[in-house]
C-alpha cells in the first residue's frame, strides 16, 4: 500500500513509542513536519485527533487517534437490562438514533424469537428513512462547511433537518435521543395528524434537494476540489470491510437493505446508486442520490401503513429474560453496516454486548486515502468518510 514512498522512511510496523518519529530527511534535506490536527478542531467532526506527518505539503503518514469520547457503552450494557441499554444506543451515532434503536431491537428480537407486527414494521421503515434523509442532508452541509463555503449550504440543510426533527419530536417525544423502538415493535403509536405532517415534509424535500444541487453540484470549485481526491479502490474497500455509502461509491453493489431484506424492505421499489471512481465527489453525489431514493421509499410507505397492534403481545417490559444463545442483528445505517452482537446467558443482563460501529471501521482506511495528498485535502476526505465520534468511541 505504501509503494509510493522511498525506503528511507520506515512506516511498516507501528512504532513502540509513538513520540519518537523518524526524522530522516526526505528529498531536499528538509525535516519531516509533524502536525497534530488536534481534538479541538473545527473540522474534525468531533473530538478526534489526526497525527499527520508532512513532507512539505504532502502527507507521508497519518495516524488517527480517537478514544476521547469513550463512555464504556458496552460494559455498561453488561450491567443493565436489555431495555435499559436502549436509551444508550441512541447516543452511539447521535445523529441517527432511530436506526441505532432498530439495529439493537433487531438483535434482541433474533435472540428472543419475537415477531414484529406489520404496522410496527412500516413505522420502523418510515422513521429509518427519515433518519437517513436528515443524516445525509447534514453530512453534505458539513462537507461544504469544511470546504470553506462559510455555512451557507449547512444552513439550508439544517432548515430541512429541523422539519424532520419536529416529526420525531411529535412521535417519540425527543428530537434526537428518541428511545423509540422496543423489542417486538415500537413504543407508542402515531399521534393524530402525524401522517399528514410527514406527507408534507416528504413532498417538500425533493425541492430542497434540487435547490441544493443547483447551489453546489455543478460548482466548478467544488468539482476541482473533490474530483480525484481520496480515491478508494474497490478491492481495498472490500478487504478493509468498508460498508455503506463509502463502499458503494467505490462501485461495489452491497446494500444491506437489498441483501438481508430485513424488516419489509423487499416490498418497496428503490434503486441503489453506485459510484464510478470512489473519490470524494462520488461520495457526495451518492449521498444526494440516496436522499432521493429514500424519498421514493417514503412515498411508497407512508400511504400504505396498515392498522393493527404496535408491539408483539409476547414482549415484556420488565423481567425480560431471553433464552441462552447469541445473535447478530445488522441494518443499513446511514453511515454503513451497524451491527449488534449479543450473547445471552438467561439473566436479565446480556453476557456480552458488542457494537460493530461503521464509522470506526470506515476510519481505518483514512491513511491509505490520504497518502500523497495535500493537507487541505485531508479535511475533505475525513468529511466524506462521515464519522460521528459517538459511534467511533462508543
Amino acid at each position: 500500500m505504501n509503494a509510493t514512498l522511498d525506503n528511507t522512511i520506515q512506516i511498516a510496523e507501528p512504532p513502540k513509542n509513538y513520540e519518537v518519529l523518524p526524522k530522516e530527511s526526505s528529498a531536499g534535506g528538509t525535516d519531516l513536519l509533524e502536525v497534530a490536527m488536534g481534538p479541538h478542531h473545527p473540522s474534525t467532526h468531533g473530538v478526534f485527533r489526526m497525527d499527520v506527518v508532512l513532507d512539505g505539503e504532502r502527507v507521508v503518514k497519518l495516524k488517527p487517534v480517537f478514544g476521547y469520547l469513550h463512555r464504556n457503552h458496552e460494559k455498561i450494557a453488561e450491567n443493565t437490562t436489555y431495555l435499559g441499554s436502549m436509551p444508550y444506543t441512541d447516543r452511539l451515532d447521535y445523529f441517527c438514533s432511530l436506526t441505532n434503536n432498530w439495529a439493537y431491537a433487531l438483535a434482541v428480537e433474533k435472540l428472543a424469537g419475537l415477531q414484529v407486527p406489520e404496522r410496527a414494521e412500516y413505522i420502523r421503515v418510515i422513521t429509518a428513512e427519515l433518519t437517513r434523509l436528515q443524516n445525509h442532508a447534514s453530512l453534505v452541509g458539513f462537507l461544504m462547511q469544511d470546504m470553506g463555503a462559510l455555512g451557507t449550504p449547512l444552513m439550508y440543510a439544517f432548515r430541512e433537518r429541523e422539519k424532520i426533527l419536529d416529526l420525531f419530536e411529535s412521535l417519540t417525544g425527543a428530537r434526537m435521543m428518541c428511545n423509540y423502538m422496543r423489542f417486538g415493535g415500537c413504543r407508542v403509536d402515531l399521534p393524530e395528524g402525524w401522517l399528514e405532517q410527514a406527507n408534507k415534509v416528504v413532498a417538500e424535500f425533493p425541492r430542497f434537494v434540487d435547490e441544493f444541487e443547483n447551489l453546489i453540484s455543478g460548482n466548478e470549485i467544488l468539482m476541482a476540489r473533490t474530483q480525484g481526491v481520496g480515491v478508494l479502490p474497490k478491492e481495498l474497500a472490500i478487504n478493509a470491510s468498508i460498508t455503506g455509502p463509502m463502499l458503494r461509491a467505490s462501485g461495489v453493489n452491497y446494500d444491506i437493505r437489498k441483501v438481508d431484506k430485513y424488516g419489509i424492505y423487499d416490498r418497496f421499489k428503490f434503486r441503489v446508486p453506485l459510484g464510478d471512481h470512489g473519490d470524494v465527489y462520488d461520495r457526495y453525489m451518492l449521498r444526494v442520490l440516496e436522499m432521493r431514493e429514500s424519498v421514493k421509499i417514503l412515498e411508497q410507505a407512508l400511504p400504505a401503513i396498515p392498522v393493527g397492534p404496535i408491539v408483539d403481545p409476547k414482549a415484556k417490559i420488565r423481567g425480560f429474560r431471553p433464552k441462552v444463545g447469541e445473535a447478530y442483528g445488522r441494518i443499513e445505517a446511514p453511515k454503513g453496516e451497524l451491527g449488534f452482537y449479543l450473547i445471552s446467558d438467561g439473566t436479565p443482563n446480556p453476557y456480552r454486548y458488542r457494537v460493530r460501529p461503521p464509522s470506526l471501521i470506515n476510519l481505518t482506511i483514512l491513511e491509505d486515502m490520504c497518502l500523497g495528498r495535500v493537507i487541505a485535502d485531508v479535511v475533505i476526505i475525513l468529511g466524506s468518510v462521515d464519522i460521528v465520534l459517538g459511534e467511533v468511541d462508543r
Binding site: 502536525v35 473540522s43 505539503e57 470553506g148 451557507t152 495535500v374
Partner: protein
C-alpha cells in the same frame, strides 16, 4: 442648485482653508483632505462589517446581529470596544519590533492609496500625473505587511500561511495590473482624474464607461477577480481562513492589533474597489444621462456599495480554492486572458467609428462646473 450640492464638500474645504493665514494654508488643506478620507472610510468600514454579517445571515436564512442597537447597527461599536479592551499578547520568542510594525504596515499603505481615488467631481486628495502607478506601487506594500506578520510570530505554521498569502497576492498582481493597462492604453494617461474625465459624456442615454466596451467588460471581470484575491476574500481566503491547519498569518495577534489587521484588509478592499470604479465604471459619473443631477459623490459611493455587495454575495456562496488551484488559475488562465485583452484593446482602438465604437480620449464637455479644481498647492 445642483452645482452647490455636488460641490458642497469642496466649498466647505475652501471655507475652512480661507480662515487660516496664507502660510499655513497648504498644510491645513492637506490635513483636511486626510481627515476627510480617514473619517469617511473608517466609518464605511464599520458600516460594512455590520452589513456583511447581516447580508451573510440573510443568505443563510437567519438574522444577522440584531441585539446591539436597532437592527444591530451599533454592533461595530461593541466589536471595537471588545478589540480595544482585550489583552494584547505578544509571543515571547517573537520579533517585537516587526511584530508591532506589521499591522501599521498594512493599514498605512491602504489609506495612502485612497489619496488618488477621485471620490467626486473635483474631490481627489492628490491629483498626481502618475496616480495609477502610485496606486499599484504603494498597494503592493501591503504584501510586505503580511509577510512581516507571519515572520515575526516565530511560529512555523503562521510562516507557512504568510508565505502562501504572499505567493497568492503576488500572483494576482499581474492580471490586476495588466487589466488596468488596457484602460491606460485607451486613455493615454496614468492620472486617475483624467481617466474619469475620459468616461464622462453620453451617447444618447448610455454613458461612456469602459465597462460598456468589449475589452472593458472583460477587463472589469479580470480586475474584480484579481481584486478579490488581493484582498484575501473568499473564495481566495486560504491564507486567512485556513480552518484546515492554521488560522493564518495573524494567528499570534490579539486585541487592537488584530482589529488593525481587519481594518487594513477592509480598507484595502475599498481602495481596490474604488480603483475598479475609477477605471471601468466611470468614477463619479452617473449611469444614465438624465440622472446627472444627483451629486457625484453619491454615485461613487453607490457604486462602491454595489461592488461590496457583490463581494459579500460571492463570499456567501462559494467554497474555498486550494492553494495550487489558486495559483494555476492565476498563471494559466487569468494571465493569458489579460494578455489577450490587451491585444483586443489595441485592435478596438484602431477600429473605424461604428455602432459601439466611441473615441474616449476626445474630451467631452463636462456637464457643469465652474469652481476651480482643488489641487494640492505645493
Amino acid at each position: 442648485m445642483d452645482e452647490t450640492l455636488d460641490q458642497l464638500f469642496v466649498w466647505l474645504k475652501h471655507l475652512l482653508v480661507a480662515i487660516v493665514p496664507a502660510a499655513w494654508q497648504p498644510l491645513v488643506s492637506a490635513l483636511i483632505s486626510v481627515a476627510a478620507i480617514i473619517l469617511t472610510f473608517a466609518g464605511l468600514f464599520a458600516l460594512t462589517t455590520i452589513l456583511e454579517r447581516k447580508g451573510l445571515g440573510r443568505i443563510q436564512n437567519r438574522y444577522g446581529p440584531n441585539r446591539v442597537g436597532p437592527y444591530g447597527i451599533l454592533q461595530p461599536v461593541a466589536d471595537g470596544l471588545k478589540a480595544m479592551t482585550k489583552e494584547d499578547i505578544v509571543p515571547r520568542a517573537a520579533d517585537k519590533v516587526v511584530h508591532f510594525l506589521a499591522p501599521l504596515a498594512l493599514v498605512l499603505p491602504a489609506f495612502l492609496v485612497l489619496a488618488v481615488v477621485p471620490v467626486g467631481r473635483n474631490m481627489v486628495a492628490v491629483d498626481l500625473d502618475a496616480g495609477l502607478l502610485f496606486f499599484f506601487a504603494v498597494g503592493a506594500a501591503t504584501e510586505l505587511a503580511v509577510f512581516m506578520a507571519g515572520w515575526s510570530s516565530r511560529n512555523k505554521y503562521s510562516l507557512l500561511g504568510a508565505m502562501r498569502a504572499v505567493a497568492q497576492m503576488i500572483s494576482y498582481e499581474v492580471p490586476l495590473i495588466l487589466s488596468a493597462v488596457t484602460v491606460i492604453m485607451a486613455v493615454g494617461s496614468l492620472s486617475t482624474v483624467k481617466i474619469v474625465e475620459a468616461q464622462t459624456g453620453y451617447s444618447g442615454v448610455l454613458p461612456h464607461w469602459f465597462l460598456l466596451t468589449p475589452w472593458g467588460f472583460a477587463g472589469f471581470i479580470l480586475f474584480m477577480i484579481s481584486a478579490t484575491a488581493e484582498s484575501n476574500r473568499s473564495p481566495f481566503d486560504l491564507p486567512e481562513g485556513e480552518s484546515e491547519i492554521i488560522a493564518g498569518y495573524y494567528i499570534e495577534y490579539s486585541g487592537f492589533k488584530f482589529a488593525l489587521f481587519f481594518l487594513g484588509e477592509y480598507i484595502g478592499m475599498f481602495a481596490i474597489c474604488g480603483l475598479g470604479i475609477t477605471l471601468f465604471l466611470g468614477g463619479w459619473t452617473a449611469p444614465l444621462s438624465f440622472l446627472t443631477w444627483v451629486p457625484s459623490y453619491v454615485w461613487f459611493f453607490s457604486k462602491l456599495f454595489a461592488l461590496i455587495a457583490l463581494l459579500i454575495w460571492v463570499r456567501g456562496t462559494l467554497p474555498r480554492l486550494r492553494m495550487d488551484q489558486l495559483m494555476n488559475f492565476a498563471w494559466k488562465f487569468m494571465l493569458p486572458m489579460a494578455l489577450i485583452n490587451i491585444v483586443t484593446t489595441g485592435v478596438w482602438h484602431f477600429m473605424p467609428p461604428g455602432l459601439v465604437r466611441w473615441r474616449p480620449f476626445r474630451r467631452q464637455k463636462l456637464v457643469q462646473t465652474d469652481i476651480s479644481v482643488c489641487r494640492l498647492i505645493p
